[in-house]
């Protein structure tokens, strides 16, 4: 195989093949077990449902709501997480104070908070935004603190030698040196945050993709349920790819 042909195979043919195999397994399962559409619809029924959904305003509103909750919570959690993580990386005293709180809270999964957020904030956006922020925050705190603690010590010495004070060193050297690690944590956090939004909407919401899916399930519109799930997956992958692309574009040095 020539070099361009093999590049084409890697970038287009192989991923497409993976999707085709997955869809084929799905189709074969429906046919093989003679499943009724209400249990598992065929791929083409789901595609039809997707096309129909895309033509409605309500669908785009649900997508918009979920994305809004996600973006607001993600921004909040990322900024707060990097700030607290950086402080933990820089200050021994702060680290000793924050560690027990962070270490015990971070194992309480976001979903465990859903009953409380509904109690406190009802089905409003605020509860979801805070839930996403919470989920994202702990991923960011832990990786940022660790990344800063692992910055090459020579770089700190060089910064001090050049005349940088503590804050300048933290901002211009430590945070910048830790940036690639922080960016990959941000990518992982996006996936977790997106999952948290949808999960929260499943349980209590006035709009959003999670609510759309639970409503469809109650009315036994299984193709819509699966179509909604696919939309969630595609948006999640898209967000993750976007953050990966942004961090590569901004942080890559050969």
């Amino acid at each position: 195989m020539s070099a361009p042909a093999s590049a084409f195979a890697r970038r287009i043919v192989l991923p497409a093949l993976g999707v085709i195999i997955a869809v084929a397994v799905w189709e074969a399962t429906v046919q093989g077990y003679r499943l009724p559409a209400i249990v598992l619809p065929t791929p083409d029924a789901v595609v039809a449902a997707l096309v129909e959904l895309a033509g409605t305003r309500a669908f785009w509103r649900d997508v918009g709501v979920s994305l809004y909750e996600f973006i607001a919570g993600y921004a909040l959690g990322t900024i707060a997480g990097i700030a607290v993580g950086a402080l933990m990386g820089e200050s021994r005293r702060f680290r000793m104070m924050a560690t027990p709180v962070v270490e015990s809270l971070r194992f309480i999964v976001p979903f465990a908070w859903i009953p409380l957020t509904i109690l406190w904030f009802g089905t409003s956006f605020t509860g979801k935004i805070l839930l996403v922020a919470y989920a994202v925050f702990f991923v960011m705190v832990v990786s940022t603190a660790r990344a800063i603690a692992h910055v090459e010590p020579t770089l700190s010495r060089v910064g001090t030698m050049l005349g940088m004070g503590r804050w300048r060193l933290a901002w211009q050297v430590h945070l910048r040196a830790a940036a690639p690690t922080i960016a990959s944590a941000a990518r992982a956090a996006a996936a977790i945050g997106w999952i948290a939004v949808v999960a929260a909407e499943y349980i209590g919401a006035s709009a959003g993709l999670g609510l759309m899916i639970t409503n469809a399930a109650t009315s036994l519109a299984t193709p819509v349920v699966i179509a909604g799930m696919i939309v969630i997956g595609v948006i999640g992958a898209g967000v993750s790819a976007l953050i990966g692309w942004l961090s590569r574009a901004r942080l890559d040095y050969r």
Binding site: T154, V158, M161, R176, Y253, R254
Partner: protein, 282 residues
């Protein structure tokens, strides 16, 4: 602040003929002078205390170059870290401009590290310019100065390269340019030419001497290359094995730097003998 510990019970040893204990107040008479006064340093690792420096004393007069030579691992780099205020002595004092060396950022200092420690996210030019920017120079001024010193170390063609694209020797030269570009009053160099090939090294030594003549900084130069120490130093501080102390301070005169002269050969033999290498190999 450098804590000055009580030295009661410690009889001052006269390791250096130059050492003198002066008052701690900054003083015009001591401007540009680096004094290492009965300095001890140790570190704890895994619960075990390791002594690195054991009563080191010497003095570098303003504008002169002291080359430190000694067995590897004898604490030469530690000495530089102490002089830079990056490390604290466990006992004793270092004085610059007549005042104890303070920990933290400074404005008088330029240092080239053994591991160059370039910022990988910056181009070579930015790496050299960042110190000047930090010290308040304008962007244009910093870049022009950076370019000039990169020319000096022979890296004019690599200004826009990133550190990962450089060889070890090239990265070290960027580190030297970065230190020199600061126009420091105190220049600390940790085997700056170690990773540079022999021919480039000789050229850099020449350039370096020319530069020193311009600004006359006080220089503490760590090297394991005795001919280099003779070529560049006004004096050579010979250290012992770890825990290190000063074994001898050898002054170098002008005619002893001429590599073709018998005086040079005698100085080389003398210094090497001090390090335990005898000149006559049978």
């Amino acid at each position: 602040m450098t804590p000055i510990r009580d030295e009661t019970g410690h009889a001052p040893r006269d390791a250096s003929a130059h050492t003198q204990t002066a008052s701690h107040s900054p003083d015009v008479a001591h401007r540009g002078e680096l004094v290492v006064d009965h300095v001890f340093h140790d570190y704890l690792a895994g619960g075990r205390r390791t002594d690195v420096l054991n009563d080191v004393s010497f003095r570098i007069p303003a504008g002169s170059v002291a080359c430190v030579v000694g067995p590897s691992g004898c604490g030469k780099s530690t000495l530089l870290g102490l002089a830079a205020g990056l490390l604290r002595p466990s006992k004793g004092t270092l004085r610059w401009d007549g005042a104890p060396v303070k920990m933290g950022p400074t404005s008088h200092l330029g240092m080239a590290f053994q591991q160059p420690g370039l910022f990988p996210w910056m181009t070579v030019r930015q790496n050299v310019a960042i110190g000047l920017r930090t010290r308040g120079h304008s962007r244009r001024d910093a870049q022009a100065t950076a370019d000039r010193f990169l020319d000096t170390v022979g890296l004019a063609d690599f200004k826009d390269a990133y550190p990962s694209q450089l060889s070890g020797g090239m990265a070290q030269r960027v580190g030297i340019a970065r230190a020199l570009a600061l126009k420091p009053r105190l220049l600390l160099l940790d085997e700056p030419f170690a990773a540079v090939d022999a021919f480039t090294r000789l050229k850099l030594q020449q350039e370096f001497k020319t530069l020193l003549r311009l600004d006359r900084p006080t220089v503490l130069f760590v090297t394991h290359d005795v001919p280099e120490a003779i070529a560049l130093g006004d004096s050579i501080v010979v250290m012992t094995q770890r825990p290190a102390t000063v074994q001898r301070i050898i002054p170098v005169s002008r005619d002893e730097r001429d590599r073709a002269s018998p005086a040079y050969a005698r100085k080389l033999a003398e210094t090497l003998e001090c390090l335990g290498v005898t000149s006559d190999m049978e």
